[in-house]
């Protein structure tokens, strides 16, 4: 066969544009852009409104010690209460999720699943009331015991708060509050572990617990971390429950978890102070909000980094 004419350039037919595709693509793009715009808007607002407080002379800030010394105890209180909540809630939530997915009979598992989801839907103000009216007084004898037996540890140094409205109480209330979201997400990932992997472990002669250690928890690890971070986000930003339980007694930085002198959290402090604030005080509160915003951002980035560090081993490939 001889070539008599130069080969024709293959011309691709113009791609067909269907209106449905275009509408969907545009609206999806719009939604994606919207979330960025909102985030940028919030950031700009926080920056602009806190600018006066950032530049104001120290004696104009409430407490007259400057912005850093005003915000620092609040940051401390926020992180401490959230850390207690996370430490208590995560192991418990993983246990609940494992029980529901791998141990409970199917009927019971369903009921438990509903109950856990229901807990997540309770408004935080209710948790606050429950914490102050029911939990706090009942914790007082326990705190007395802690002081008597473990009082040499600075965490449990006295004097014990007679009302039980302490840092540890709020940590526990926050733990109950974030428990459902962490366990709901853990349950979801645990139930998605492929049978292939669980059977691989069982066929090697793993007991049920060994199978969970070998196949289920490693597979669900990124989900557990993701759930814990969502819970942490809620614990960091929780306003009403904290404001009710820790009202008033802002006491600077202290690790004493069971005394009545407690640091406030950023969110609760804003809620308590905002109605009576004017001028530079408002800007100061907004500046503390900016700090909270940055903290949550950092926490999320940290979580993402933890999850991605061993992405090769995630089981997603």
């Amino acid at each position: 066969m001889t070539v008599t004419s130069p080969p024709q350039e293959p011309t691709a037919p113009p791609p067909v544009r269907r209106p449905g595709d275009r509408i969907f693509s545009l609206s999806a793009k719009g939604a994606g852009i919207l979330i960025l715009v909102i985030l940028a808007g919030v950031t700009l607002f926080l920056l602009a409104e806190s600018f006066p407080a950032l530049t104001a002379p120290a004696e104009e800030i409430p407490g007259e010690g400057g912005l850093a010394s005003y915000v620092w105890p609040l940051i401390f209180g926020t992180l401490l209460s959230a850390a207690i909540a996370l430490l208590v809630a995560t192991p418990l939530a993983v246990g609940i999720a494992l029980f529901i997915t791998h141990y409970a009979p199917r009927r019971l598992a369903q009921v438990l699943g509903y109950v856990v989801d229901l807990l997540a839907a309770i408004p935080s103000i209710v948790y606050g009331f429950w914490g102050i009216a029911w939990l706090a007084p009942r914790l007082v004898p326990f705190y007395r015991w802690l002081e008597e037996n473990l009082g040499f540890i600075p965490l449990f140094a006295g004097p014990v708060s007679p009302t039980g409205r302490t840092m540890l109480t709020i940590g526990l209330v926050l733990a109950v509050m974030i428990l459902p979201i962490v366990s709901a997400i853990s349950r979801e990932v645990f139930s998605q572990v492929p049978t292939l992997h669980t059977e691989a472990a069982l066929a090697l002669g793993a007991t049920r617990w060994e199978m969970i250690k070998m196949a289920v928890i490693p597979y669900g690890k990124s989900g557990i971390i993701g759930g814990a971070m969502l819970g942490l986000g809620r614990a960091l930003g929780e306003t009403m429950a904290v404001a009710i339980i820790l009202s008033g007694s802002a006491a600077g930085i202290t690790f004493a978890l069971i005394s009545s002198a407690n640091p406030q959290t950023i969110a609760a402090n804003i809620a308590l102070q905002f109605p009576e604030s004017t001028g530079i005080d408002v800007n100061t509160l907004i500046a503390s909000g900016l700090v909270l915003f940055v903290i949550t951002l950092l926490v999320n980035m940290l979580a993402r980094w933890i999850v991605n560090r061993r992405a090769d081993f995630s089981g997603a490939n």
């Binding site: 199917r106 492929p194 292939l196 992997h197 059977e199 691989a200 472990a201 069982l202 066929a203 090697l204 002669g205 793993a206 007991t207 060994e210 070998m214 196949a215 490693p218 597979y219 690890k221 090769d312 081993f313 995630s314 089981g315 997603a316 490939n317």
Partner: protein, 259 residues
């Protein structure tokens, strides 16, 4: 090492449904026994009942006897976990643990036995098992990488290495090559022929040439109709099954005239 398995009057149930009925068979040590038959006839179910993996499915149970060198595997005081440590299994789809490195995959079974092993002994075990599975040369430079990064055939050989690392008495293989290309299949078949010197091997396969190539004994499973239990129709030396089977149904299936 390499034990004999005697199955008598085995009925296998899923809840109330009788899936496999009345299996009587003796599986010889140091040989490859192939199980063939149409889909849904109970070959895999039977295979999974040998190492008590069948009962992992809720509601699944077994009646009858499976005896391995005098040890009744379904005796009331027999722990299924112990049975599975003695009888290794390789699945249809390669299933290395995705969250573990190649090294940890191979060592996983040994670590389950809760024996404290020195690093050197574990290294030695991993190398011996990977060599045993003809995979060592391909992965020795990336033992710390995830097993899921290997090709399908390599992953299946990794699963075989994981299974033989605990030195089981019997190795069960449930269509180990059905997800693999012909070259990987050949590699696994060669490997099986080597392994049969040390283990009792039972393989379920849809590939009749494979059964004819590798096995010494062949069992043919079939069922009379939908909803009927599967039965072991014929169990004979492979040569006889493929040249002069006793049963008409076997001949029909092998020559492609089933139904």
């Amino acid at each position: 090492m390499a034990k004999r398995i005697d199955v008598s009057d085995l009925d296998i149930y899923y809840g109330k449904f009788l899936a496999v009925q009345g299996v009587n068979v003796s599986i010889e040590p140091r040989s490859i026994t192939a199980l063939i038959g149409p889909s849904g006839c109970g070959k895999s179910t039977f295979l999974r009942s040998i190492n008590r993996m069948h009962e992992v499915i809720p509601g699944a149970r077994v009646e009858g006897k499976v005896v391995m060198d005098g040890q009744d595997l379904y005796a009331p005081d027999t722990d299924p976990v112990t049975v599975r440590r003695q009888i290794g299994m390789v699945f249809q789809r390669p299933n290395p643990f995705p969250t573990m490195s190649i090294y940890d995959n191979v060592a996983a079974g040994m670590r389950l036995n809760a024996k404290k092993m020195s690093k050197a002994a574990t290294d030695e075990l991993v190398e011996r098992s990977l060599r045993g599975a003809n995979l060592w040369e391909e992965v020795k430079d990336r033992l710390d990488r995830p097993g899921s990064g290997l090709s399908g055939g390599q992953q299946q050989r990794l699963c075989i290495a994981r299974a033989i690392a605990v030195e089981p008495d019997v190795l069960l293989m449930d269509e180990p090559c059905s997800a693999l290309d012909p070259i990987s299949t050949l590699a696994i078949e060669d490997l099986m022929t080597e392994l049969k010197e040390r283990f009792t091997i039972v393989i379920v396969t849809h590939n009749m040439q494979q059964a004819a190539r590798v096995s010494q004994q062949t069992g043919f499973f079939n069922l009379n109709g939908v909803g009927q239990p599967g039965r072991l129709i014929e169990f004979n030396p492979t040569e006889k099954i493929f040249s002069n089977p006793d049963e008409k149904a076997t001949e029909d299936y092998i020559s492609g005239r089933f139904g």
